[in-house]
């Protein structure tokens, strides 16, 4: 049966799903898409585009008016709502932890609903708390004693505890301050990669969508699908003005995140604190004992051995096998005019901005886009 083979590769499938309310408002209009297995699919769009409604129809928190939703090959409407939901992880904006229960007991919610035995439920809860970086002492605390970021980690742990193959996340990071949000997003990405959970996530933040999504569904007001594609494709080939406008001004620059290319890397002779700057170079790169770059020094600005206060910081570091965006950013932000390239934090060499731009200029790109370095 062809449909069976088809379902193996997609964990969640929406077929012509429409949500119409009694007063005639259409929240979601004939929406179809597939969330591939083991990947993150992000629903993004302006407020009122029906993205949260679409997400909540997957675990039947909202019942669709028309259309069908398949979860792991099964028609969601054929299952009991409570049983369906126990098999799906669910993370919401403000975590929604139970304030009267300890962190441990919050995380055990789904295992308890699934009637796992006590020991197994507790071991599993401790395991997932460890996964989200809240091991040990945190288990005994109450949600009111945690920061917003910690609460959201507990929220993720709670969703993972029942070992779901599918997870739904409704604006999981939007109530968290930007610095912590970055950290949580990065942790979340590596966690997802390790666990291979299929995730459908809602956000209003296109940057978050591009950062986290393997597939992005852009919805417009009235709940119709404007575009469904990979993030690089979305940036490079927006379907129409709405998508182009929503994706934003810097999309050309952001698109570089998805382009990989070989850039000539020049070996650099590093110095350490206490050394003198290299006599033949205007700028020398300073590394610590582990060859981790810690800054640049300007030859003419330093007298005697290099001290901490001579260091000029501020340049970002490019990963050796990273994206063009990383290379360009490292080159543009370096005080010396040379971008620093590292591998696992260790100095590899430096690169030149002109050469990065040259490669960008040769790289294939859609017509009509302006990319940094395009104008001469």
């Amino acid at each position: 049966m062809p449909t069976v083979r088809y379902m193996v590769s997609c964990m969640i499938r929406l077929e012509g799903v429409t949500k119409r309310y009694a007063d005639g408002t259409v929240a979601v209009d004939n929406l179809s898409f597939e969330a591939p297995e083991g990947k993150i699919t992000v629903l993004v769009g302006p407020s009122g585009c029906g993205k949260t409604t679409s997400l909540r129809m997957i675990n039947r928190m909202i019942e669709p008016t028309e259309g069908k939703i398949f979860v792991d090959g099964k028609d969601a409407s054929s299952l009991k709502p409570a049983e369906l939901r126990r098999s799906i992880g669910y993370v919401i904006q403000h975590a929604g932890l139970f304030p009267h229960r300890t962190v441990l007991s919050n995380v055990q919610t789904v295992p308890n609903l699934l009637k796992w035995d006590k020991k197994r439920a507790k071991d599993r809860a401790m395991e997932v708390l460890e996964l989200v970086g809240l091991g040990g002492d945190f288990a005994k605390r109450y949600p009111g004693q945690l920061s917003g970021g910690q609460q959201q980690r507990v929220g993720v742990a709670r969703a993972l505890a029942g070992d779901p193959t599918v997870m739904l996340m409704d604006e999981p990071f939007s109530a968290i301050d930007p610095v912590v949000r970055e950290v949580l997003q990065d942790e979340f990405l590596s966690l997802q990669e390790r666990l291979g959970t299929t995730i459908v996530m809602v956000t209003h933040d296109i940057d978050e969508a591009i950062k986290l999504g393997h597939r992005i569904a852009v919805l417009r007001e009235g709940g119709t699908l404007a575009q469904f594609s990979s993030p690089d494709d979305l940036l490079a080939h927006p379907n129409d003005d709405f998508v182009a406008g929503f994706v934003g001004r810097d999309r050309g620059y952001r698109a570089l995140s998805f382009q990989r290319a070989e850039v000539p890397i020049y070996p650099a002779q590093p110095v350490e604190l206490g050394d003198r700057p290299l006599p033949d170079e205007e700028w020398s790169i300073v590394v610590d004992a582990n060859r981790h770059p810690i800054g640049w020094v300007e030859r003419d600005a330093v007298e005697g051995p290099i001290s901490q206060s001579d260091l000029q910081l501020g340049g970002t570091l490019a990963e050796e096998h990273g994206s063009l965006r990383g290379f360009l950013d490292a080159a543009l932000s370096s005080p010396s005019g040379r971008g620093v390239v590292v591998n696992e934090g260790r100095l590899v060499g430096t690169l030149r901005p002109q050469e990065v731009l040259q490669i960008i200029r040769k790289a294939p790109r859609p017509s009509g886009d302006t990319i940094a370095g395009d104008s001469e």
Binding site: A82, E83, Y90, I92, G96, L146
Partner: protein, 227 residues
Amino acid sequence: MISSVFDWLSTPANWEGDRGIISQTLTHLEYSLIALVCAALIAVPMGLYIGHTGRGRVVAVSIAGGFRAIPSLGVLFIAVLLLLPRLRGELAFALPSLIVLVILAIPPILSGVYAGIAEVDPAARDAAKGMGMTGSQVLWQVEVPNALPLMFSGMRSAMLQIIATATIAAVVGLGGLGRFLIDGQATRDYDEMAGGALLVAALALLVDFVFGLVQRFVVSPGLTKTA
């Protein structure tokens, strides 16, 4: 004046016997607890239903408001007049007193339960449902435990009003601490009246203290502790 009230309170003879302070206090407490339990049996399920479903909020508000406006003495006399021909003995007076106290206690309990449930963090409720709790699991595992502080404050305020008002049972000839007020007035024994009033206040405070202890034991520390 104060010392003579104290004299009345410290006279051992006033404490003893089936018309003494101890016996009347126990009777008073008995009426009060029966009234509280009856009121709770009516108001708690109503409050849970209204808070959980969000249906019938108007009913709750009008009951809470309207019942408060009912004059206790008026209800007592009407109930006695209506029930006297139909009931025998002490019950003909006890039941009307109970009705008055129950009517009095319903509004605070109802609003405490309803408000407690309605004020549970919507995100917690949404998460509970989204993780696969059934309606009754959401109610008993999430809504009720979180509503307990407000439920308790409703109960405690109901109990204070019941204890204060249970004195009116004495108006229709029943026992309780109200006896000292009524009898004292009849015999112009103002020490007895003031002593009775003090005893009512002391009983109310004591019972409230006990409820407070129970509350501390029953309510999750997560609802009182914060970082």
